[in-house]
């Protein structure tokens, strides 16, 4: 029997065999008949050998999309005693083609690349280990197809880039070309291998060597396949060049020529028809429509009894229709191509080839409708036809699905009624379709917002309709659950509905449904996602109403559930955060610590640091309360350890950046100035470094302000202070404050400086209180040195800085101890404060625009007066107070300070007149006859009146009255004889009157003071055992 006769008789087998090649031929590749491919092995082998059974089994599983299972089975087969050795020898090959097939079904590009890389490894290994065998050649052919797939991926990536990214696009195209070149070389190798193998099998005896004849036939088919694929690769290569470029034209022409020759050579076999189809595609790309249509016509004219051939014919019809559409011959598509579509058999239309055809016919109907007048009767029919076809295409995965959905979204629903589902499965499908339609419409609306604003409202309507339809069908699906309903699908419906409810801001409903799925079915595929919805919904409910105890409790409950069930998920991190915040907000520190201890070890450091940050924030809010010392210590310890664990983690998280800053602050509190500076300046994680490198984490202005504040404090606290750096930090601080914005009165910088001064003062006091005299002295000395240096250039400084310097001198003086040396230094500091404030006042008098606000100037005047008072320059102090009161007579703080000043003046100079001023006031205003400075009596009267409407003035009243009595007592101490007795009597009488009118004397704080003063009076009056306030009680009784 000669070769051609043999082929003719076995054509049926070839049809089956060719179908096994389909995966190599896009776009049919996704839908190749894997089962018939398996049958091919059976037919050729003639009997069911063990290796064949295994091959069939894995092939059938692959055909059912169970690739993961196949890979698992192959892994297991390597050591399985029931798997034949022959099959074990081809496991790498099977793995390779399984991965190759799998790669075509994977949704993510990354996973596809992984699968292709692994396929390549396996096939290479197999080819290497089986050189000279026919299956090794087949492995290399498959390998070549892996490379073609990789090239196509690169082309898709390139096409996805915007047109302006020319360089990146070209990089992808270059890579694609290199893959295709490599593939073509491999095809050459495979061709040679098959030719050599066939050469060895030229003369076979049909009587005794039927098996070898079958194998030879298979090899001839595969050789033809390889040649077609190599020629087709030129077409792919052409697509890597710009359309219509000389390179593209040349490659397409070359591909068409080679494919044409192969068609002539193999026209008796279906592979020849594939060559013809691809040849037609080349002409289609070259826009040589007649040649293209002719090629496709040869394929559409094939007999159509075999399902595989029917797919090929359908594809040719689809390409042909695309050619007609490109030439605007819509009627030809609508009659000729439609005619073939109407011949489709049951179940065929869901295949990709039929989808491609339906899409082209839909395009023809839509485009033709667009050419017609609005009133043309054909128009609605065509649009309706297009809509139906697009809808069908949009329901099946395939290369036209997305385009069909977009076209459908643009055409709108056309007043269709929502179809009514009768079963769960129908409702589920309709709901998913509606969700797809909604998503596509939303996507299209985003694009339309820029490109086609006219379409926006209809697209938005489409999205709204889709949402409503999805919701309706999801609810319907829940009512149509039956025995056959898969629980996972049911939970998916519940989850999707909860998501829609969440989208529509129906949070309580969303929470009810989602928390049900999450808590009742945590292991269900929808469980974790539902938990996220539940968490988010309860969070929204709580945010909407802070007093919603139910939402708060449920939030904690679901967060705990998430943390326990999905401890390593991102949602768990959010959940832990919520729990932690909730525990910290309510001061449940022990609970927060317990929570952190439950977190998986590898994630714990981050949460420890969060806890440490929260604890430190609490300390900052609490101020320098000594009762917090233990907690402060614990917070510092946690900050220290947490920061150490995470300082090398990259990228730097906001938590780490915040912790770095807090730790620096904590070091400053502990007088660890060098440590603080080392941390602040750390070249990797230091807050100053983060700021200078514009790290996003440190981009918040508030962070910058706090970092510069800490740095300034550190530089000025060091011995000797780093003045230059401190000055630079002051400038940076000023800029950061400006960036903070929203500074209504422009005093923010001043307030920051003042608070910094107070912070230092408190630290000095705390050192002194703790007996750390040396640390206190060192800090005072260092700080004073810095201030002096700064003070030298006071004239060049702005208002805020000058105010800060003066105020800080004042605060430093206040913070010093009682030793003689302290007294001298205190005087020096007060003098510098006085001079500083005086200079500010003088400057403001010559340029009223200098102070940022009126209050700022008043503050300077007050502190100036206070400095004078502290220095014992009472007359000048009273002048200064008077000046303030001239502008604002009712400033009670100033009135009080002035009354105090008179008393101190009276005591210092033993002047009864000044003591009288303290009680009755001074600096009479000629025009009114009233004193500008009120004195204690009037202060008491004013406070009594104010206390009627505001109880906070009550204390002021009792204090003022106490001061009256005390000043009387002081006057008595300066007097002799009758005057002394007179003053003592008046003092006592004052207290008696108060007791009669106000028996509680202002409460627990002030009553003891009255009692103590009265005892002194009684003692000075000669009473041996002064009874204090008891004297009046016994009298009254």
């Amino acid at each position: 029997m000669d070769f051609e006769q043999e082929e003719t008789e076995r054509t049926e087998k070839y049809v089956i065999l060719f179908s096994s090649l389909l995966p190599l031929f896009p776009p049919v590749k996704l839908f190749g008949c894997r089962l018939t491919a398996a049958l091919c092995y059976l037919t050729l082998a003639g009997s069911l050998r063990a290796a064949d059974r295994d091959a069939e089994f894995v092939e059938a599983l692959r055909g059912r999309g169970q690739h993961e299972l196949v890979l698992e089975y192959l892994e297991h087969s390597q050591s399985s005693p029931i798997v034949s050795d022959e099959f074990k020898g081809r496991i790498a090959y099977e793995k390779g083609i399984t991965l190759l097939d799998l790669s075509r079904r994977l949704p993510s590009a990354e996973r596809r690349t992984d699968a292709l890389d692994n396929a390549r490894r396996e096939l290479e290994a197999f080819a290497k280990a089986n050189q000279g065998a026919s299956l090794a050649a087949e492995a290399q052919a498959q390998l070549a197809s892996v490379l073609i797939e990789r090239a196509k991926q690169r082309m898709i990536q390139a096409e996805a880039l915007p047109a302006e990214s020319k360089q990146e696009r070209e990089t992808f195209f270059v890579e694609a070309r290199s893959f295709i070149d490599e593939a073509r070389k491999l095809f050459d190798t495979v061709e040679k291998a098959y030719e050599a193998l066939l050469e060895d099998q030229r003369n076979l005896d049909p009587k005794t060597q039927q098996k070898e004849i079958d194998e030879r036939l298979e090899m001839r088919v595969r050789l033809a396949q390889v040649r077609v694929l190599r020629a087709r690769a030129l077409y792919d290569l052409a697509l890597t060049h710009p359309a219509k470029s000389p390179d593209a034209q040349q490659l397409l022409e070359q591909s068409a020529k080679e494919l044409g020759e192969l068609y002539e050579k193999y026209s008796r076999w279906p592979i020849g028809s594939y060559a013809r189809l691809y040849e037609g595609q080349c002409y289609q790309a070259l826009e040589q429509w007649k040649l293209a249509v002719g090629c496709f016509g040869d394929v559409t004219g094939l007999p159509d009894a075999n399902p595989v051939i029917r797919k090929l014919i359908t594809l040719a019809h689809a390409y042909q229709a695309a050619c007609y559409n490109a030439q605007q011959q819509f009627d030809t598509t609508l009659t000729q191509s439609r005619g073939w579509l109407e011949q489709s058999q049951s179940g065929e239309r869901s295949a990709a080839e039929w989808g491609a055809l339906q899409f082209q016919i839909a395009e023809a109907a839509r485009l033709k409708a667009a050419t017609l007048e609005e009133r043309d009767r054909q128009r609605p029919r065509l649009i309706s036809q297009a809509r139906d076809l697009y809808r069908a295409v949009s329901r099946e995965p395939g290369e036209h699905q997305r385009a069909a959905r977009v076209a459908l979204a643009e055409l709108g629903r056309g007043g269709d009624e929502f179809p009514q589902a009768k079963t769960f499965a129908e409702a589920y499908t309709l709901a998913k379709d509606a969700l797809d339609s909604m998503n596509v419409a939303k996507l299209a609306a985003q694009i339309a917002a820029e490109n086609n604003p006219d379409a926006l409202s209809s697209l938005e309507q489409q999205a709204t309709d889709g949402q409503a339809e999805a919701r309706l069908n999801l609810r319907l699906a829940l009512q149509l659950v039956d025995d056959q309903t898969e629980l996972t699908q049911l939970n998916e419906v519940r989850y999707l509905l909860s998501w829609l409810l969440w989208e529509q801001e129906e949070y309580l409903q969303a929470a009810a449904l989602a928390s049900f799925v999450a808590t009742r079915y945590p292991d269900d595929p929808s469980g974790a996602a539902a938990a996220k919805i539940a968490l988010a919904s309860f969070d929204r409910l709580r945010a909407a109403d802070e007093n919603d105890a139910f939402a708060a409790a449920q939030l904690v409950q679901i967060a705990q559930f998430i943390a326990e069930h999905w401890p390593t998920s991102d949602t768990a991190e959010v959940a832990f955060n919520m729990l932690l915040n909730s525990a910290l907000q309510e001061d449940r520190l022990a609970e927060a610590e317990a929570l952190v201890s439950q977190i998986a070890e590898e994630r714990r450091p981050l949460f420890e640091l969060k806890l440490a940050n929260a604890m430190w924030e609490r300390q900052l809010r609490a101020g320098s309360d000594d009762s917090q010392a233990q907690e402060r210590e614990a917070a510092l310890k946690l900050l220290d350890s947490g920061f150490a664990k995470l300082r090398n983690e990259r990228p730097i998280t906001p938590t780490l950046a915040t912790a770095g800053l807090y730790l620096a602050q904590a070091y400053l509190d502990q007088a660890r100035y060098q440590d603080a500076i080392a941390l602040l300046e750390d070249t990797e994680v230091g807050p100053l470094q983060l700021l200078s490198s514009d790290n996003e984490v440190a981009s918040r202005p508030a962070y910058a302000v706090e970092a510069h504040k800490a740095a300034l404090r550190a530089y000025v606290s060091l011995t000797p202070p780093q003045s230059e750096k401190a000055l630079a930090e002051m400038a940076a601080l000023e800029r950061a404050v400006e960036q903070l914005g929203g500074d209504g009165d422009g005093d923010r910088l001043t307030r920051i400086y003042v608070s910094l001064g107070l912070q230092l003062q408190r630290q000095i006091e705390s050192f002194l209180a703790a007996g750390k005299r040396q640390e206190a002295d060192a800090l005072v000395a260092a700080f004073a040195t810095f201030l002096d240096k700064l003070n030298e250039r006071r004239d060049a400084l702005d208002w805020a800085t000058t105010q800060w310097i003066s105020q800080t001198y004042f605060n430093l003086a206040e913070g010093l101890g009682d030793a003689e040396a302290d007294g001298q230094q205190r005087r020096q500091f007060y003098e510098r404060a006085r001079d500083g404030f005086a200079a500010m006042i003088a400057a403001a008098e010559s340029d009223a625009s200098l102070p940022p606000s009126e209050n700022s100037l008043l503050a300077a005047r007050l502190q100036h007066a206070q400095s004078l008072r502290q220095l014992g320059e009472f007359s000048a102090a009273i002048d200064a107070f008077t000046a303030i009161l001239r502008a604002r007579e009712t400033m009670l703080d100033v009135q009080t300070a002035a009354a105090e000043t008179y008393r101190e003046w009276g005591v210092a100079e033993k002047s009864p007149a000044r003591l009288e001023n303290s009680i009755f006031g001074g600096r009479r205003v000629p025009s009114t006859g009233q004193n500008r400075i009120w004195g204690w009596l009037k202060l008491a009267q004013i406070a009594a009146k104010a206390a009627r409407s505001d109880p906070k003035y009550k204390d002021m009243f009792f204090e003022a009255r106490l001061n009256v009595a005390e000043v009387r007592f002081l006057a008595a101490m300066q007097a002799q004889g009758a005057e002394r007795k007179n003053q003592l009597d008046k003092a006592k009488q004052n207290i008696r009157s108060m007791v009669q009118l106000y028996p509680d004397l202002g409460g627990e704080t002030l009553r003891p003071k009255y009692d103590a003063l009265l005892k002194n009076i009684q003692r000075e009056a000669g009473e041996v055992s002064p009874a204090g306030l008891n004297e009046f009680q016994s009298t009254s009784t």
Partner: protein
Amino acid sequence: MKLDRNRSLRAPLRRRSLPAAVGVAANVLLLLIIGSSAHAQNDRIRLWSGNETGEITKTTPLEVTIERGSASKTIPVSEIRSIVLGGEPSELTQARVNADNGGFQPAMAALEKIDLAQVTNELIRQDIEFYKAYIAAKQALLGERPVAEAGREMYAFVNSAKESYHFLQATEILGDLLVASGKYSDAQRQYDTLAKTPWPSYKMRAAVLTGRALQAEKKHAEALQQFNAALSLKDDSEEGKRQALAAQLGKSVSLSATGKVEEGVKIVEEVISQANPEDKELNARAYNALGNCYEQAEQIKPALFAYLHTDLLYSGVPEAHAEALSRLAGLWEKIGQPTQARQARETLEERYASTRWAK
């Protein structure tokens, strides 16, 4: 040899189909992969645990006999969840699904489409008649048709199909209809029939139903006795566990009705955590009971949350769903969400217009 393209390519395709050996092998392969599939015309009994397929050859109120090949098996009714009969009209299958999910109108509409004259299988005929009577009874319980008329239909079925495996279910429904008519003692006699079966789970069921009838009479102390009696019967079967939970639930309702709300909440929460989440009837009752408890304690949000479970998850239990919608309408108003209140009321009126909850 010169090639004749047409002959070589087309003729064999027309002439031949797949080689027989290949077809057989493909079938073998398919069977290997997929496993044996059920015969299309077989009867299928869905049990509380597993399935049985074959041909049903005999039924009594207590048992169903099914044969498969030469093997015969008798299955107690207490173990049966549902039966799909081989060759039954698709409308019957659809009606069963609809009825099970509270879709009584479409279920009845589907049954009405069946031409009984064409139904030759007696079991299928009985099933159609039962479901018609069952749906009528359920609609009557919802207030959508007269109770007496539905009762007559069910009696007619019981009398005409004395060997039906639906007998006990029919008896129970009759009891429910009598409760709805206020004939509590007659209802209890129907429920007592269930207690006479040999299965503890049915004795428990009888006690639970009697307890509920007593609750309808507001005799909570006596109802509690019935629920406790049900709980004293030990039965580890799935149905037994289900009835124990139903008894617990009944207890919680009576406890909260007598002012022991906290105790009631605890029990309901326990029932919910132990019940199969897909047990629509039990869960719908439980969430409504929970909502009731919270309402009594004036905890609006938790009450809303409980009723929402019935609305969203168990809307296939019409009586419970109608109650939940009615309660939700009021509760949404209370928390200042009139749109949600209106939606609940609209759904109530649209789906359960004739029920007491919509009036």
